[in-house]
């Protein structure tokens, strides 16, 4: 059987429309104790609002980075976009069509060819019992894109080369590779079906600095060559500065700031963004004594009322503890902060 041509993208909308559009995405998890315990110990139902109304857009060919600390929901957003979770509320559009409707339907399943994911842990993201050739070829086989053996082998070799590995590596097992090389194999697998959108969940956090540099460079080159769009999740703002075009800062499931990279780093508006930037240990400030902000991220099961950041915020007032701020545009930047809105910051 001859190789089928790579799947064509769904009908391309006019240039102005962004490739990805998330509208009020939310995901709640029920983490209550089992029914019997709840009845006997009179425990309440507990809901975890991992993602609580997140909206953003990503233009084709650009990279949006989502940053935040643990519990902010950025990984959940990533999994919502690739269909690993269903949204509890809201929706997201891929090239104009409702992605989750597509994920669920039989015919729309093909959307998975266009959206792929790279994971954080290079040791757990490849099946230790499969050879590299099978791992990289799996998406091609699953979607029936190439079935002839020689063509499949050729394509696998091509993909391995594009990430800087040798086509001869295809017969090896994952444990024969280092962390950085495994991450490259993950990238090769993700690119097998020529996707347009790649969700990257902390792809270099588990790698050493020199290896991280190699992988980030490859990702940037591939983006340039193939016009890929990335959603890049990270907690490392220095890496984010290097790879992103736009940056979204998340805190306890909400977007607090969304701005083009230059604007965010030059002039962070939201108090949490400022705190994050201030808190990063900087290479060139040897012996610099920072003034770290007090407090820790609150328990996501019991978020503060109003603005989630108000207990730690130096600029909080009464309104902040009762009314939840909305993401508003201001000079090309979107910020969810009463103090900024009121001009106090």
């Amino acid at each position: 059987m001859s190789a089928q041509p790579a799947a064509a993208a769904p009908q391309a909308p006019p240039e102005a429309a962004p490739l990805i559009r998330a509208v009020d995405l939310a995901r709640t998890f029920d983490v209550s104790a089992p029914w019997l315990n709840r009845v006997l110990e009179r425990k309440p139902r507990q809901l975890l609002h991992a993602v609580d109304g997140v909206s953003f857009e990503i233009e084709r060919g650009q990279t949006l980075a989502l940053v935040g600390e643990s519990g902010c929901g950025k990984s959940t957003v990533a999994r919502l976009l690739v269909g690993l979770y269903q949204p509890s509320r809201g929706h997201f559009e891929f090239a104009g069509q409702d992605a989750h409707a597509a994920y669920r339907s039989r015919s729309g399943r093909a959307i998975r060819r266009h959206i792929q994911m790279i994971f954080q842990d290079p040791y757990a993201s490849l099946n230790p019992r499969w050879r590299v050739a099978d791992i990289v070829a799996e998406p091609l086989r699953e979607h029936g894109l190439i079935s002839e053996r020689a063509a499949l082998e050729a394509r696998v070799g091509e993909l391995l080369q594009s990430v800087g590995l040798s086509p001869l590596d295809r017969v090896k097992f994952p444990h024969q590779f280092s962390g950085g090389q495994r991450q490259r194999i993950s990238i090769a697998r993700a690119l097998a079906t020529q996707p347009e959108f790649l969700v990257c969940d902390e792809p270099t956090s588990a790698l050493d600095v020199s290896v991280q540099a190699q992988v980030l460079n490859i990702m940037k080159d591939l983006q340039r060559q193939q016009g890929l769009t990335y959603l890049f999740i990270s907690h490392n703002l220095a890496v984010v500065r290097h790879v992103s075009d736009h940056v979204g800062v998340m805190y306890l499931g909400r977007l607090v700031e969304l701005a083009p990279k230059q604007a965010l780093f030059a002039q962070p508006r939201h108090p949490y963004t400022r705190m994050l930037l201030e808190a990063i240990p900087k290479l060139h400030h040897t012996g610099h004594a920072r003034t770290p902000v007090q407090g820790e991220v609150p328990n996501p099961l019991n978020p503060p009322t109003g603005c989630a950041f108000h207990p730690r915020c130096p600029a909080a007032n009464r309104r902040c503890s009762s009314e939840r701020p909305v993401l508003q545009s201001l000079d090309g930047v979107r910020v969810a902060c009463h103090a900024v809105e009121e001009g106090r910051l």
Partner: protein, 334 residues
Amino acid sequence: MSLLQVQNLVVEFPSRHGTLRALDQLSFEIAPGEILGVVGESGAGKSLTGAAIIGLLEPPGRIASGQILLEGERIDNLPPDQMRRIRGRRIGAIFQDPLTSLNPLYSIGRQLIETITTHLPLTHAQARQRAIELLQETGIPAAQERIDHYPHQFSGGMRQRVVIALALAAEPKLIVADEPTTALDVSIQAQIINLLKSVCKKHGAAVMLITHDMGVIAETCDRVAVMYAGRIAEIGPVRDVIHAAAHPYTQGLMRCIPDIEVERQNLHQIDGAMPRLNAIPPGCAFNPRCPQVFARCHQERPELMPAATTQAACWLNASPTSPARAAALPEAQP
């Protein structure tokens, strides 16, 4: 006099396939009260160095040769019960995961008091008072009540503070901290680093801070040792190692760290990877990846030698008038 002296330490792992040398002729010193950073990538041997000093090498790993001297006395060849007395009393330890560093079944007060009474001649009441003071010092609010709480009732950052209190409980002279902030959020990291620095200065304890995060090193340490493939590549004052490194590996490493202040098109990368323990090339371990390699690098292994402001294990720094360099083959293209 140095607080800690490590001299030509060799740690080996005998295995069926042969003996693997994980640490190869390691030598360095820590002065009293100083903070020495030990930085390196995975597999460089930094955690092993910490484990060897505390005496917690996992068998079959063992110290094959070399000496570790604490305040002039050898501690590497002590029997286990004597080593146990030194651990905790003169050397404290902080590990990466605050979750597993504390026993979940005992209250933190009990763990603190147990450590204090084991090493110091205090009564239970005195030990308890001291424990409360330590908790207050490390920033645990309401220490009087929280001393009886269990580890699961604390958040990650709080737990790491308790671990720091535990490490300081018996007034050790040296604290070995192995990746103390890696498992914590960025904002908590900043707090813990500051705490470690201030509390150790206050108690006059020296710190050996092991981490892979150069930013943390830059802000905390006085001196730093850069490890590569079980050896020290460079050691010196932190500002000099970061800004004026003499070893090509250190130079490359500093350049590939993405900097939040400066933007670059492509990150500088060091091609290749750190060699595995059973495949370390002869001569300088870095020679396959070094942009300035020459003939001697493949033949002789360089020892730490003085460079401009640091000490680097690199033949580029061999003194031009030394007979060693004169005897070297002329520089050849790799």
